[in-house]
């Protein structure tokens, strides 16, 4: 069974640019979660999508947004990039939202802002 896949693996951008990160969940999983893992700060929750709807978002500015497609894959968009956006962006998926289910992670996209 294929795990969560993310693309690209690495990305270099400059301040003010925009970026789109992509995530394909495990087959059968309908919930997708996005996290930011900056150095020394642990995993910070960004967004949660389930059945195509945004269910919750973390304490991040509106320039962080995303969507989930009918095939349950997801995109994370970040506008007006700032230096502090440099981080590993992780996507996770789980089996729906009817009960607590473990989230399974991809290997992330490493975003560097110059």
């Amino acid at each position: 069974e294929a795990g969560v896949t993310q693309s690209p693996t690495h990305l270099i951008k400059t301040r003010g640019q925009q970026v789109t990160l992509r995530c394909s969940p495990i087959s059968g999983h309908t919930s997708v979660y996005w996290y930011q893992q900056a150095l020394g700060l642990g995993l910070q929750f960004l967004l949660w999508y389930d059945e195509g709807e945004e269910r919750n978002r973390g304490n991040f500015p509106p320039r962080f947004s995303g969507r989930q497609f009918p095939n349950y894959s997801s995109e994370l968009n970040v506008n007006a990039l700032e230096l502090e956006d440099s981080a590993l962006y992780l996507c996770a998926s789980s089996l729906g939202s009817n009960s607590n289910q473990p989230q399974h992670f991809g290997d992330g996209t490493r975003l560097s802002i110059l």
Binding site: L41, L43, F45, R55, N100, P102, F105, D107
Partner: protein, 112 residues
């Protein structure tokens, strides 16, 4: 809201010894707990989970203990091996919530 703290940011153990990694959480309504392992350059890997109606759960070489009275969670790794070297995170979710709050992680180093 929930906050998750960690007792030790780093832990060094001799190969073959048992490892114990601890975690504390703040919300007594939390009812789902997960441990993840993250190796360098990779995403967190699910190890084991436990719900609040249990106080112990065992997997292959791993045991999770939950003490709801003091809001404490621990991960025990038996016969620690070099391949166990990684950062270990605990994560907690509240009742009816599907959002995980993560601790900052403990870096486990195994000495051959």
């Amino acid at each position: 809201g929930e906050s998750v703290g960690l007792h030790l940011p780093t832990l060094s153990v001799q190969e073959g010894d048992n490892s114990i990694i601890n975690c504390a959480y703040s919300n007594s309504a939390s009812d789902y707990f997960i441990w993840y392992k993250q190796e360098s350059g990779k995403g967190p890997q699910f190890i084991i989970d436990i719900r609040s109606n249990m106080d112990k759960r065992q997997g292959q070489r791993v045991t999770v203990l939950l003490n709801k009275t003091v809001k404490h969670l621990s991960l025990q790794i038996a016969a620690t091996q070099p391949g166990d070297s990684a950062v270990y995170f605990c994560a907690v979710a509240g009742a009816g919530s599907y959002q995980l709050t993560f601790g900052k992680g403990t870096k486990l180093s195994v000495i051959p």
